[in-house]
Symmetry: C2
């Protein structure tokens, strides 16, 4: 059996064999191997660096007295830094797994998107967690920034979680049972320390002492930065951080303190990083500077192929595993880029098919013409006046121009450019061969790729979600030769990393797809998805269950883009876990593990799951691995569940005071109080009856309490679900428990909505507070960044107000005004309108998605403060515009609208009327005024107002509105304004086409 110590030695040897030097762990407590100066400082600056080391990583917060089978206050990381990233770090990494004796062909090894960021340290990177049969065993990151400094070159950071790997390899279910070394278990070696250090961190550490340590070390760090000594300064920052972590584990950090401490540590970390970089520069980079692209191939000198007939283009960009969302985006992005860039040439082509998978983005362009079309170009020479002398002989200017263009001077003739007359000539530009065109277009398409979040790697000039590693470009049977950022195009593509020949040669464009499929790569996401559905359904049947493609669509979409060759495997778990709330079980399955849950026909959860492996593997092995992971997670959840059922709700609620919501907006407890107050005000506003108030009041008091539970800390998507469960078990009335659950609804676009009014009011209060608070501190979303989920909040607000009959009269701005008054920061002025506009834009999008014309949506926009009314109006408007009467009415009202100046008095004097049309219009107006009121909707108004169409049209036919007599003119406008005033209550008619 491979002991943990063997594994550490094996990794040490493996990585020294790949040029890493070995250093010792940091001799002060660190939370992760990243903080060791061998990473934190050495990734800065241009010097190359390869290092590997074990690092006992101390997380006081993870202290569990050694009781939790998977969680330790000190776990062992094995850390590798490759700087610059070597071009094949994933292959190197897989080699290390093989060195550990892991058969990577038999197991399901996957690279699952996981990005890393430590705002406290100004550090982030993009990468993956590596899964071994569903178990996260390694964090793999392209390190982009550290200490607030952009890293150049980029380092690869590989962090193995040793205890997890070994538990999996040894098949043990508690860390204490790990065979650490021959004859001694992990528990025997470290169990007592685990227990005692947990005691220290959770119960015994003196708070005043650790506060003093924090201050002392922070001050030392600051002094040492001033003294230009980054190494000891860094050590002090680490000690400072450890003191903070201890205080945090002791629950001694208030919101204010946390914010201050983070600011202080971040500033120090930045100071250290900058100073280190300066010092290394001053020392002249003793380790040299990394060359940008160590293995940049020669510039391509291959001859451009030429074709006689149209041919297909196969174009594939090979990448390291993209995040699932990017797989989808990438296909559309490559299509858009290709279309646009080809359109800028004169190369004609047929349909473009795009395909994408985790490791490739491909396009098949059908029927590419052999050449671009030819073109006639007018070439401008000197001004005509300067081209010939008085004798009509060409001047030196003309002669020179002709010589430069390679034509005889006699070929010049007068041409007009921009109104001036010049000499010049018409040049026949023949179309370039297709390959030549493509050799310019395709690298630009590669360079165009951009993702939601982009990274750099060792390819100067490129920036994308993950590194681009190869480009295949075949025009018929010919490669299209080009080079981009050191990557030469060619006819190679890469299939499964575990294949006997991971790189294969494609003979021609038509053979591209067959070749991939022959090697078990499916680049078409829709094919992958349907295969998953088919295989999963078949497997589910064998277990007497079924998959619900609708409710599992999100995880199915995700899994579709996590694999290139989906292979469904059925696994099971112990039925005893079915005692846990089903939401917990499915959340763990889907969010953590990307498994599909199985249900009986009755809807009941079955003790099975389906995992989708990437390519063929040893099913029994992979099943067993995934089952063990799920078991550990369920064990963890069951542990929390049992423990927290016994905890009073108040106690969980009291923890909220220690959770920061946002620096300026206070703790989660502060936010929960605001939600409760806001909910009470909204209840007054809608005149909530006493029986519903009896539900709302206790629910509001408990608002968000489950965020103080360990279960929700672990599984944040269970917020609300756990509130309901815990409240129910604590003896709260069912309606209160339900309201607590509903307060979190809707959690995503397809989620259900609160059904009870108390629940809906809480949900509204939540979202109103969120929007108001974050707009108040200037944190409204920009671009694609929406960390607090304000767009989702706005959509939730709309969904509730649109659909909840008892709340439809509630105006958003009313709610925002109450919320604003409760914020700890100024939230008045323009703010409610800004928020309403933000919400309104979500409304517009929703309505567009429902197929309403943009003009109609714009027309109802003034009503969005009460979205239900706006939507109702929009629907009625659609109906109205479907009838000739309606269209005529609208046209008539628009006619009125158009003639009215921006400011018009509503008053008119019938005694000044001088035509029957005026009187008729007034009469119609009076009649409709009587027939409508504040509660009249568009449909009723239109029914009544159809009587206006005739009088309006008559009015315009017979009356000159813009009369010479100003008084008459004003009087006529006053009449029209009154007509419009009556109509504009329902619509902004001016927006209609």
């Amino acid at each position: 059996m491979l002991t943990m110590q063997d594994a550490l030695i094996t990794l040490t040897r493996y990585w020294t064999g790949h040029g890493c030097m070995i250093v010792q762990p940091m001799n002060t407590e660190v939370g992760a191997g990243t903080l060791n100066p061998a990473t934190a400082l050495r990734v800065l600056g241009p010097e190359p660096w390869r290092v590997a080391y074990a690092e006992p990583s101390v997380r006081p917060d993870d202290s569990r007295y050694g009781d939790n089978p998977n969680r330790l206050q000190t776990h062992t990381q094995f850390q590798v830094i490759l700087k610059p990233e070597p071009g094949d770090p994933q292959e190197l990494y897989l080699g290390s797994l093989s060195a550990l004796g892991i058969d990577v062909c038999a197991h399901d090894v996957r690279f699952v998107e996981d990005n890393w960021a430590s705002p406290a340290l100004g550090a982030w990177g993009l990468g993956w967690e590596v899964w071994l049969d569903g178990l996260e065993i390694t964090q793999f990151t392209y390190f982009q920034q550290s200490g607030g400094m952009t890293l150049d070159p980029v380092s690869v950071e590989i962090t193995y979680g040793m205890e997890r790997i070994i538990m999996a390899l040894q098949g043990v279910s508690h860390f204490e049972d790990i065979a650490y070394a021959p004859g001694i278990s992990y528990g025997e070696a470290f169990g007592q320390a685990e227990y005692e250090m947990s005691r220290y961190y959770l119960d015994e550490a003196d708070i005043a002492a650790n506060r003093a340590l924090f201050d002392t070390y922070a001050a030392e760090a600051g002094r040492l930065i001033d003294a230009r000594l980054p190494v000891p300064a860094h050590a002090c920052v680490l000690k400072c951080s450890q003191a903070f972590n201890v205080l945090d584990a002791r629950g001694a950090i208030s919101t204010t303190e946390r914010a201050q401490a983070f600011t202080r540590m971040r500033n120090l970390a930045h100071g250290v990083a900058e100073l280190w970089a300066q010092r290394r520069a001053e020392l002249g980079y003793p380790l040299g500077t990394a060359t940008a692209s160590p293995s940049a191939p020669e510039e391509v000198t291959a001859p451009m192929p030429s074709l006689d007939a149209p041919a297909d283009l196969a174009f594939e960009i090979g990448v390291e595993e993209l995040p699932p969302a990017e797989v989808t985006r990438a296909a559309e992005a490559i299509r858009a880029s290709l279309v646009e860039r080809l359109a800028a040439t004169r190369l004609r082509h047929g349909d473009i098919t795009v395909l994408s998978a985790p490791r490739r983005i491909a396009a098949i362009v059908a029927g590419v013409q052999p050449c671009e079309d030819d073109e006639e170009q007018a070439i401008r020479g000197p001004r005509l006046s300067a081209a010939y002398d008085a004798d009509g002989n060409p001047t030196n200017a003309a002669l020179g121009f002709a010589r430069g263009q390679g034509i005889d001077v006699t070929g010049l003739r007068p041409l007009t450019f921009n109104g001036g007359t010049y000499t010049g000539f018409i040049k026949h530009v023949p179309g370039r061969p297709a390959a030549q065109v493509l050799a310019a277009v395709l690298p630009a398409v590669v360079a165009d790729l951009r993702a939601e979040r982009n990274m750099r790697w060792n390819a100067p000039g490129l920036s994308y979600s993950r590194p681009i590693r190869w480009v295949l470009a075949l025009l018929g049977p010919h490669p299209v030769p080009f080079t981009i950022a050191g990557i030469a195009s060619g006819r190679l593509t890469w299939v499964h990393r575990t294949a006997p020949e991971p790189a294969i040669t494609v003979t021609d464009a038509a053979g591209y797809l067959p070749a991939l499929r022959a090697h078990k790569i499916e680049p078409d996401a829709s094919v992958r998805r349907s295969r998953i559905l088919t295989e999963a359904a078949e497997l589910a049947l064998t277990a007497g269950g079924q998959i619900d493609p609708e409710s599992e669509h999100a995880v199915i979409d995700e899994v579709t883009n996590l694999v290139e060759d989906p292979v469904a495997i059925l696994g099971s778990f112990d039925t005893s876990y079915l005692d846990l709330p089903a939401d917990i079980l499915t959340t763990v399955m889907k969010k953590h593990q990307r498994y599909l849950p199985l249900r009986a026909a009755s809807g009941e959860l079955l003790p099975h799951f389906i995992t989708i492996a990437n390519g063929e593997c040893d099913h029994d092995l992979v099943r067993a691995g995934n089952e063990a992971v799920l078991r550990a997670r369920y064990e963890d959840a069951a542990f929390f569940w049992r423990a927290e059922l016994a905890r009073p709700l108040d106690e969980m609620k009291s923890r909220l005071a220690q959770l920061t919501f946002e620096t300026q907006l206070g703790s989660v407890a502060d936010r929960a109080s605001r939600i409760a107050a806001l909910a009470a005000a909204l209840a007054d506003r809608v005149g909530l009856p006493d029986d519903e108030r009896a539900v709302l009041r206790p629910a509001a008091e408990l608002a968000k309490f489950d965020l103080g539970s360990a279960m929700v800390t672990e599984l944040p998507s269970l917020a609300g679900v756990m509130a309901r469960e815990y409240a129910r078990h604590a003896g709260q009335p069912a309606a209160v428990a339900e309201a607590l659950f509903e307060a979190e609804l809707p959690r995503h676009a397809r989620d259900t909505l609160p059904r009870s009014r108390p629940g809906a009011i809480l949900a509204l209060a939540d979202r109103l507070d969120l929007l108001t608070g974050l707009f108040a501190i200037g944190a409204e979303p920009t671009g694609s960044s929406d960390p607090f989920g304000l767009r989702r909040a706005a959509l939730g607000l709309l969904a509730i107000l649109r659909t909840h009959p008892g709340l439809s009269q509630l105006a958003i701005t009313e709610g925002l005004a109450i919320a604003a008054a409760l914020q700890p920061v100024p939230a008045g002025g323009q703010l409610p309108e800004d928020v309403l506009d933000f919400v309104g834009r979500r409304f517009d999008q929703l309505m567009l998605d429902q197929g309403h014309p943009a003009a109609s949506i714009r027309a109802v926009r003034p009503l969005v403060d009460t979205p239900a009314r706006a939507e109702q109006t929009l629907q009625q408007l659609a109906g109205l515009l479907r009838t000739p009467e309606g269209q005529e009415l609208a046209a008539a009202i628009q006619r009125v609208r158009r003639i009215l100046p921006a400011v018009t008095s509503l008053s008119f004097d019938p005694t000044l009327f001088d035509s029957p049309a005026e009187h008729a219009l007034q009469a119609a107006l009076d009649k409709i005024s009587e027939a409508t009121g504040p509660d009249t909707d568009l449909r009723h108004f239109a029914a009544a107002a159809s009587a206006l169409t005739g009088p309006i049209n008559d009015f315009f036919d017979q009356v000159l509105v813009m009369a010479d007599d100003p008084a008459v003119k004003a009087n006529r406008l006053g009449l029209l304004a009154s007509v419009y005033h009556l109509a504009e209550r329902y619509l902004d008619w001016g927006q209609l086409p």
Copy 2:
């Protein structure tokens, strides 16, 4: 080339192959691998434990900005703990050197006594530093106590100094040049950290902050001990210790603080250790308990051999390398033990020859008789009166006794015991065979072995300087079978560890010595010594030099007992080092390296040295290694020398305030002030003329200043020497410089003495202060422990007072009284007499060594307060007792002495005389009284007093002293008392034989 990282991996693999588990370094700064809990805590208690790990060891005091080629603030230890010690740890260790690629046969690997103690941690152990060609590469310790607790079982601790080993193996002379890993040097990897951490420790660390850290961590540690959490408590003690070390390196620790800090840390360390041991017991010793002797052989069942004729006994106790001093002691100890224990048997034998070498203590007992002599024993039965009834028939008591003794009742006869009459019989006890006797005697001799400092190892019941590993016992050709502490005697002996067959079989006792010598082991120290002298002299000649056996006797004696097979190798050093003071060069050679210096006939030092290797080796390799070591040491010394020549003397002197002399007695600066004051008082006392005072005063002001120099810190035996050098170079008058040197004289028994009076006065003041102070705090030497060298101080005091003409009148008690008044602690009462008695005993020993009869020495003992007078008197007494007159005078005075009661009045009344003899005696007395005075010495007194001999003898012949008349009797005793009173000024005549 073996890189440092290769070496660490190699050691890791080697020791895991020998059952060690690997742990990570401690994640807080430690001064040594010993402090890692994997050592500090795990060596406690009965649980077995084998561990190995690298440990970056932080010594703020060793910070040198990376400038010093051999000294780093952080160096890398590789630490191994074997618990219980496995019986062959040295062999295991040598195996690890081979694994590193070190050819242990070609190199000179030696185990040189080096014991380890950390009073601050209540920890100590005995062992060696391991030398590779003169370079200390490893500390090897049998760990005896930790945290104040005795360790059972004993652990072996092996600590490799990685940087040193690698520098030697790679042949580089600066740590920065070490090839740490392929393509990266140690300097490149760690140079900046070395510089910056040095800056922190020496210049930048905030003193107040580190004081606060010390207090905070100490308090946390105390609280955690109370909370019964030894693991976090230990971590806090380590952090506390680091804070202390930082403060110390910053020069911020005053004497008082140091003492308090040590006490505090020691108490905490003890608390942690006890708590850990308790906790492990409470946990039921999860790792089990180590068996006392894992490989205890079966009890010996070999048949006892029997002999027909006398045979020789060869008896050898095999040990691990003894300290040189113990090699000598052991030979005498085994002789004494054998003689005594054999004398307690009836086994006759011939001469006993004892031999000793580092790894063996041997005795050859010639002509051991085949059997003990027979014996007749009287065996006592019941009282005669109870043995027979009235009829003379034996009683049951008699019958039972006879039956019990296995004789017929008729064999009983009356016997007298202690005056009573009993029945009994004479039993003939035949002598036991020699082997049987020896099988009982020899293990007792083994068990008798005791050294100055003893240790335990995995042999219950034994305690000795170093582990005993085998016993050879051959009586003629037969083994004498016995077992002691798991070791079975036999015919095996071990020769060089690097021999092809390290264990050889000896066929018979006579073959023992030839067998050893055939395998190049010389067990006879005198043979080894003369071989060293011969070889060294021959080699010296080849370099044009010579060795002075007299002045190098100490190092020659030491080296004789550091090897079993001396091989002299000549080495050289660069002549440029000859610019350094010769004392520095020879001190380094002798004290540090045990080399013999070579001098030209003129006495000038030559750039050569001779090292004595243990057994054959590759001379060129060993020479080169030793030369490199010496070069590094000289480079170090030269560095200090050049640096300190530039430092003002005052500055060095000011450092003394930071050096603790003794907790209660203050700093070295305090002591230096006392010495200065005392010297001034002594100068007054002897009436020192002004010119000499002009020397004394500045010298006294500078007293001990060189203890503040780095050179003396490194080479303490250069105290005084460096004072003279630095003072001379700083422009002090030659006489002052010389006095500073002389103040330290004599440094050992054969050293020279101060020649100038200022120097002698300073030297006296030094020793008077030392004796007074340490007696005052109850630190007088006990047994063999004399850590402050008080015996040497007393001898120095005597030597100066005996030999310095200008100081001979100075009484020790006068000096002590002045010294007492200067102490910071009470030093009055009985103290001066106690010190004088202590000094007197040294005087006695000296005089005995000079051949004076013990009785004479006792006779002059009352004069020891002025030792010169005492010695002079002793010499005169010897002369006196050589003459018949002298003997008669002495006899006469003793006759007077004997008759005098303890208390006698000196008064007499001549009118009460009634015989001429009384008058004659009085007349003689009066005459001598006139002829002698306070300054009369014994010789002159005797010359005068010879006139007394006749009158005294006549008096006793003619006068009855003890007359019946009390008045007459008292009068006669008064006369005699007056006579004796006159004589006792010179001697305690009663002590003469």
